[in-house]
């Protein structure tokens, strides 16, 4: 591994914002995500703010509905596994979407 030890090492594991109280269950410190807002910007928003997927902010969608759609997919929307977005991160983005106002250019 000597060849790998260069100046730009291990930029992942950025944020450990989602810390669990105990060490069991989900390994939140493994999460690659910082916040619900970040997940929305880096994943959901690419479609849901671009007219590809429907607008989901500003509709007070229940977080449980959002998490179910994310895990199952729906028609053209892909399903996202726990390895891609862990349960806690998913909950945080679902709450972010549920409580955010509609994008400004939307009615």
């Amino acid at each position: 591994m000597k060849a790998l030890k260069r100046q730009f090492m291990r930029p992942v594991m950025l944020g450990a914002a989602l810390i669990l109280g105990s060490g069991q269950a989900l390994a939140a410190d493994d999460s690659q995500w910082e916040s619900g807002e970040q997940i929305y910007a880096k994943v959901c928003g690419h479609c849901h703010e671009a007219g590809v997927g429907p607008t989901i902010k500003g509709r007070s969608l229940p977080p449980s509905y959002i998490t179910a759609i994310v895990r199952h997919g729906f028609r053209a929307m892909p399903a996202f596994r726990a390895s891609f977005i862990d349960d806690q991160a998913l909950q945080s983005v679902a709450e972010y979407i549920s409580t955010s106002p509609a994008p400004q250019n939307e009615e």
């Binding site: 930029p11 895990r71 390895s83």
Partner: protein
């Protein structure tokens, strides 16, 4: 400890052996990284192919985070003869998504192996793990102010370089032939050995990411679209971000223009005047990616009538063919090449040039410009809204970059699609001398009748193209054995001989590209 599984077993594995293997997976990986319940596995079964989900349902999914864990998984699979289907980001849409190729296979999900191990800004190389996404790489380059440019496929934000390159996917920059830019793989072999290609086996080496060939046989290509090993690290080259990028479009009015367009573009592409993987997108590809839905124009089932296609072309100000290319370099270099392009177009005598200025931030120009300059987005998923219903299969025959060939393939594909009540939604991606003729066979997967039509259509496309000497470069897992047939028996015998030598227990992704020791080769 819950034993409530989704009641699917790997082929030929008893329930008791499977339970024993699951216990060993848990001991190796931890309870939370061994998924066997139906609801945990649901996201792995969202497919876009027409066949029943049941045919692609896994028995379990396990997630590994280290090379040692991958070795451990392989060891357990060998012990119990359990087939394991490896995925990286799991977003191979239209080619099988995250689902295993065969029912009952255990998924080895490497999404959590997501380290960007090294970016070398001097040599412009990267070394990454399988779970790294292009968005993650892009953010890293931006945050660290590293002037390098990515090349990626359209699902860039959520897909990644290892999976895309291992499946020989392509992108839209001068580095768009991704396997060509790959440099150094680390493979966990079926016997648990860790094999590094190229210079990677040399103690103390630091040239793994800069020299591909190493010494003796160069085996990297053998591992792509294959099931001879599990890639746990991959190196690749990155293009220095040029001081100037000039994306542009040339819009052509008639679908009969395709032959002339190809003849116009080929010399510019081969001579590298235009250095990137040029795209020639058909009307409906363009319409869908600027968020046009078929339902806005008609509720009639079947192929969309020509008069509606013309109306869409007019309403949305699109070409029947829309060529996208980009020039890169200093201002002076770009100007020289721009003049050459303009001169060639003048000689052609048709086509309207559009630059960023004329496009004014509108789609689909905007997302095309982003794809050609390495900015992640998901705008192309608009394709899935054209008909809606989540059905998509890529039919991607290879063609010479020759006008007459492209014309012939286009006409044949459109006839077959329309006959089955589906639309031609396609583009040509121009390699150096080849075309990836990429057609999205879009259908409503929630409609059983349409699903059956799409399946019949895909079979006919494969058959009729094969009769004329054409074959696809990649296909979804439903048709992987069928496509292997197109390439001939000798190739299959060689591939199966390698499989027997490297993976005698047939544990690594049996069925991938038609390679499965259950076959009679």
């Amino acid at each position: 400890m819950s034993q409530q599984t989704n009641a699917v077993l790997p082929q030929g594995v008893t329930a008791s052996d499977f339970a024993a293997a699951v216990n060993k997976f848990r001991a190796l990986l931890g309870e939370e990284n061994v998924l066997i319940k139906g609801d945990q596995l649901t996201p792995y079964t969202k497919i876009m192919m027409p066949r029943d989900v049941a045919e692609n349902t896994p028995s379990a999914a396990v997630t590994a985070t280290t090379v040692e864990q991958v070795q451990g998984v392989v060891k357990i699979c060998n012990e119990y003869k359990i087939p394991v289907w490896t995925i990286s980001t799991g977003n191979n849409f239209g080619y099988g998504s995250a689902a295993p190729g065969q029912r009952g296979q255990v998924i080895l999900d490497l999404k959590k192996m997501n380290k960007i191990i090294n970016i070398d800004p001097d040599l412009c190389t990267a070394l990454v793990e399988p779970g790294v996404t292009y968005q993650q790489l892009y953010d890293y380059l931006e945050e660290n102010n590293i002037p390098l440019m990515l090349s990626f496929s359209a699902p860039s934000a959520i897909a990644g370089p290892v999976g895309n390159t291992m499946d020989r996917g392509v992108g839209y920059t001068p580095y768009g032939e991704h396997f060509l830019m790959q440099c150094g793989m680390e493979m966990v072999m079926a016997n648990g050995d860790v094999y590094r290609t190229g210079m990677g086996g040399v103690e103390g080496d630091n040239a793994w990411q800069v020299f591909k060939w190493g010494y003796g046989p160069t085996l990297d290509g053998m591992f792509t679209q294959a099931n001879y090993g599990i890639c746990t690290k991959m190196g690749f080259w990155l293009m220095p971000k040029p001081p100037v990028s000039k994306p542009f479009e040339i819009r052509f009015e008639n679908d009969t223009d395709i032959a002339e367009i190809v003849e116009f573009i080929r010399p510019l592409r081969i001579a590298q005047v235009i250095p990137n993987a040029v795209v020639i997108a058909g009307l409906l590809w363009e319409a869908a990616t600027c968020n046009t839905r078929r339902a806005e124009y008609t509720s009639e089932p079947g192929a969309t009538p020509e008069h509606i296609l013309k109306q869409i072309q007019k309403d949305k100000k699109l070409g029947a063919w829309n060529l996208y290319a980009c020039l890169y370099g200093t201002q002076e270099q770009v100007e020289v090449n721009w003049n050459i392009v303009q001169g060639a177009l003048k000689q052609l005598g048709k086509g309207t040039l559009i630059t960023e200025k004329e496009a004014g931030g509108t789609e689909p120009f905007d997302y095309r410009a982003k794809l050609m300059t390495g900015v992640p987005n998901l705008q192309e998923f608009g394709l899935y809204n054209w008909r809606g219903g989540g059905g998509s299969m890529w039919f991607a025959p290879v063609s010479q970059a020759r006008g007459s060939e492209c014309d012939k393939q286009y006409a044949l594909a459109k006839d077959i699609l329309n006959k089955h009540g589906l639309d031609y939604v396609g583009e040509f991606i121009v390699g150096w001398r080849d075309m990836h003729h990429v057609i999205d066979v879009l259908y409503d997967r929630t409609n059983d009748e349409e699903r059956a039509r799409a399946e019949a259509c895909f079979n006919e496309l494969l058959d009729e193209f094969e009769k004329r000497g054409y074959a696809v470069y990649r296909v979804n897992t439903q048709f992987q054995d069928r496509v292997a047939q197109s390439y001939g028996t000798t190739k299959r015998r060689v591939e199966h001989a390698i499989k027997r030598a490297l993976d005698p227990n047939n544990i690594l992704a049996p069925g991938k590209s038609g390679i499965d020791l259950e076959n009679d080769f």
